[in-house]
Symmetry: C2
Subunit: 343 residues, 2 copies
DNA sequence: TTGTAAGCGTTATCAT
DNA sequence: ATGATAACGCTTACAA
């Protein structure tokens, strides 16, 4: 490809400046800090930009300024609808801004996460959003030397790398179990799949809530590291029934499992909530319309995404939040599946 | 934050070249076309890169070479799990390559799509993946002047912009209806939500299959532009029952609707498949474990993503596919919900 | 508020 | 196969 005709069709900042009758640097400032220009020049540059259809060259900008307008987002899964909602919040809010999102997926591997974080650091993003608070020491180190605002999402804890937005999975789980206990259930099973750190904390909440009333029993617990599916919910529930036939309730670490349990109950003609209560986690949309409607713990995923990206952008632009840790809480959605048992 | 020490710690290609005892341009070639170096220099550069922990500056590379290693992906939704699967395929395959993904979401708006496509074109991506074949004339024009390989995904048709990978929604829908008819059902309802172009083609397949046996009746059709949910499936089904109480089957344009119909049947004590057959579309995981198990049309979403990105990368690197249009087909997943009715 | 000068780190071109 | 040179388009630092 010829390099001679570069001069002809290309619209650079120089062309804009020429047409506006200013120096290139003034045209440059028009984009980065318009209020620094006099009104007249600002208008002249503005119309020159429009007239020429000028589009900034981001590579040149990044090279000269040593910074990019890219915010990295590291999540463990693309298909888990929990993260889909978070992402929607992130993308929605980012579109109002000049920043673009660079998405990366760890597939729940902390080593993959390490690799990705190193990659991101090398590319000097303007900001970063990462999932969770259980990074490896090496990942943690990378995050701390990131030289840009970082927000950890999905859960909250002490010692944020920088900022955090999420909620307490422990508290949410504890509250769910307390609710089930209040309905008069005693033998509450626990079903867990893909035991990532947040799911682990949900287990901790379950265990402590049960221990608080001296009802904890290891036989009530069935977990696996296998990824969650609805089908798996049925399978795990069958296992649970085998090792604890007298259960009268099941707490599932997510809604897919809960739906699978419901289906398995239907298959076995176990009445819900008559003989079995079911409570899920996340409050996906289908929970409300199942028959019977399924109780769950609602989490504010979309808002989590919005807040995370907003906090990062604000921090990039010098508006650091007063409070670095934002707790978005949760809500118990009590529905038919956790009504009291029939005599 | 220090900004003075830019010169000190920086490792540029120049440093690598110096350590290796070659010129910078030779070091540069090491990355882009290693086989052009003599073995000895190649080894020297290689070890220099490792010793210094050199990381290329992508901005400088893009500025100097007038090209990026970014592949744009334009999809209508982040939360629709159909696209989540496609994305997983895209990301999985892209990680094996040097290309990174720039994701954008149109929210099913063709005007938003136009804007995004213009934005992408201005940034000169190395390749592009877009959803569907129903771009506006303006979008179509942008795509045609994109100056990089483009793959349209999700469906196939005549006149690809460049390449295509997908399947025929019309054929898939036609096949599903034929199956239901074969079970002896006559009054087959159609439930559609968010009538995007692909859903519209599923309707066409339904209509033509019904007309072919002279069973088409507008009263059998209920559609809405509202986004799909499970709850909506129940609502639409109620509407359908109101306008055609004698239906004996329902074809839903996606599985969420189908699940909602199942729940509504349970609520109304309509036996499935005894009095009502249900068939969905996409074959999401839960369909197989519902009670009764729900029939659906399986689509190869993950593979679609993988093929799309692979075709784009191959084309970028000069390996154009012999066949620009790839049909990934579909499979009828026949389950209990579409067994023949009881007397 | 505006401008001048000097790169930013890499690659294209052309020559050897 | 290798290298010298000149961009690439923009911004920082400093000056006025």
């Amino acid at each position: 490809m010829g390099r001679k005709r570069t001069k002809s069709g290309k619209i650079r900042l120089t062309e804009v400046a020429k047409l506006a009758g200013v120096s290139p640097i003034t045209a440059s400032r028009f984009f980065r800090n318009p209020s620094a220009l006099s009104l007249s020049k600002r208008e002249r540059v503005d119309s020159a930009v429009k007239e020429l259809g000028y589009v900034p060259n981001l590579a040149a900008r990044a090279l000269a300024s040593h910074r990019t307008e890219v915010i990295g987002v590291v999540i463990p899964s693309l298909t888990n609808s929990v993260f889909a909602d978070v992402l929607r919040g992130i993308y929605d809010a980012s579109e109002q801004s000049r920043y673009s999102i660079q998405l990366a997926n760890t597939r729940y591997s902390i080593l993959q996460e390490e690799k990705l974080l190193r990659l991101f650091r090398a590319q000097k993003p303007a900001g970063l959003i990462v999932t969770g608070i259980n990074q490896t020491p090496e990942s943690r180190n990378v995050l701390e030397t990131m030289d840009c605002p970082v927000t950890q999402i999905m859960e909250i804890g002490d010692s944020p790398v920088d900022m955090m937005v999420g909620f307490s999975h422990y508290d949410a789980s504890f509250a769910a179990i307390s609710h089930i206990l209040e309905q008069g259930r005693r033998r509450i099973g626990f079903l867990g799949a893909r035991m990532d750190p947040r799911v682990q904390r949900r287990f901790d909440g379950y265990r402590d809530a049960m221990k608080a009333v001296s009802l904890f029993d290891p036989n009530l617990v069935v977990t696996t590291t296998v990824p969650t599916t609805v089908t798996l919910g049925g399978t795990l529930f069958a296992d649970l029934l085998a090792q604890a036939p007298d259960i009268d309730a099941v707490f599932c670490v997510n809604d897919d499992l809960a739906l699978g349990v419901l289906f398995e109950c239907q298959r076995r003609q176990i009445s819900v909530p008559g003989h079995m209560a079911i409570v899920g986690f996340n409050d996906l949309e289908f929970m409300a319309s199942a028959v019977p409607s399924l109780s769950s713990v609602r989490t504010n995923r979309y808002e989590m995404g919005r807040h995370a990206i907003t906090m990062v952008i604000d921090a990039i632009e010098g508006r650091r939040p007063q409070q670095p840790v934002l707790d978005l809480g949760f809500q118990l959605m009590i529905r038919d599946s956790s009504m009291p048992p029939t005599a």
